[in-house]
């Protein structure tokens, strides 16, 4: 195979990664793995941004990816702190068992 990889190849790969992340969030019951699936979705979007940045000749995509990564780092820190606090109270990270607010 020769030639450059077209934009649509990157976009379809990114869509597939995003769909895999969605499946992970719906199927898994472990809060940490749900969190990892969310990170997977964020990375799929990052790939879309960088692909468009290259093919539309604009650096805006890469700048946005920089900020997405910074916000994702902050979100992971806080999310894991929440999970730790949750585990301390319930002794479990299974999201099926975290239903104190259920009526």
């Amino acid at each position: 195979m020769t030639g450059t990889v077209p934009l649509n190849a990157y976009l379809i790969l990114s869509a597939a990664l995003f769909a895999i992340g969605v499946i992970g969030v719906v199927i898994r019951r472990n809060a940490l793995i749900i969190f990892m699936a969310i990170e997977l979705m964020l990375n799929a979007v990052n790939l879309t941004f960088v692909a468009f940045s290259r093919f539309l000749a604009s650096m805006d995509g890469q700048i946005i990816v920089f900020f997405v990564m910074a916000v994702a780092a902050a979100e992971v820190a806080l999310g894991l702190a929440i999970i730790i606090a949750l585990y301390r109270n319930k002794e479990s990270v299974n999201v099926d068992e975290i239903n104190l607010l259920k009526g």
């Binding site: 649509n8 499946i23 199927i27 898994r28 539309l56 650096m59 994702a72 780092a73 820190a77 894991l80």
Partner: protein, 169 residues
């Protein structure tokens, strides 16, 4: 030539991503996600976004996943039985159906040929002449300065929030 690099990287990204959501041991899932991040970093290099590729490895694989692994080992989470073992078939079917619908819709949107936009000024030649990291730095401190400063406040909030949430009462 680019296809020779793209196909293995894309295959590795997809395979490790599927492993993340399928494996039962959380440590294996975290390691698979690190593999996904490395594959994505390779794809960023293929797209000539060298700065983002390095930041991906340093921040995602080097900091965020280390944090994940620390928490997994700290909390001693056990293995979770697969959903089909626990008679959770409806949720698995709904989840896969929704994801398939999403994928079909996204591929239709991609294939409709609307993936065009206003071409910007930063062509590959210009970026390579200035340097990718230099150009990102220059833009961050001129056009995107406010967002840059606000990001530092976001990180401060994350630090304070994590310390408040995780301390012993």
């Amino acid at each position: 030539m680019e296809w020779v690099l793209f196909v293995p990287l894309a295959a590795m990204a997809l395979a490790t991503a599927v492993l993340v959501i399928v494996l039962q041991n959380p440590i294996y899932c975290a390691l698979s996600l690190i593999g996904t991040f490395f594959a994505l970093s390779g794809l960023y290099l293929l797209l000539q976004a060298q700065f983002i590729a390095m930041v991906q490895v340093i921040i995602y694989a080097g900091a965020i996943m280390v944090l994940f692994l620390f928490v997994i080992m700290l909390l001693d989470v056990g293995h979770e039985p697969p959903p089909w073992l626990r008679r959770d078939r409806p949720r698995v079917v709904v989840g896969l159906g929704l994801a398939a619908l999403l994928l079909v819709e996204l591929v239709a949107a991609i294939g409709s040929g609307m993936s065009e936009g206003i071409r910007g000024p930063h062509t590959t030649e210009l970026v390579n002449a200035v340097g990718n990291a230099q150009l990102v730095g220059r833009l961050l401190f001129t056009d995107f300065l406010i967002a840059f400063e606000v990001t530092s406040i976001i990180l401060l909030i994350a630090i304070v929030g994590a310390m408040v949430l995780a301390r012993r009462q």
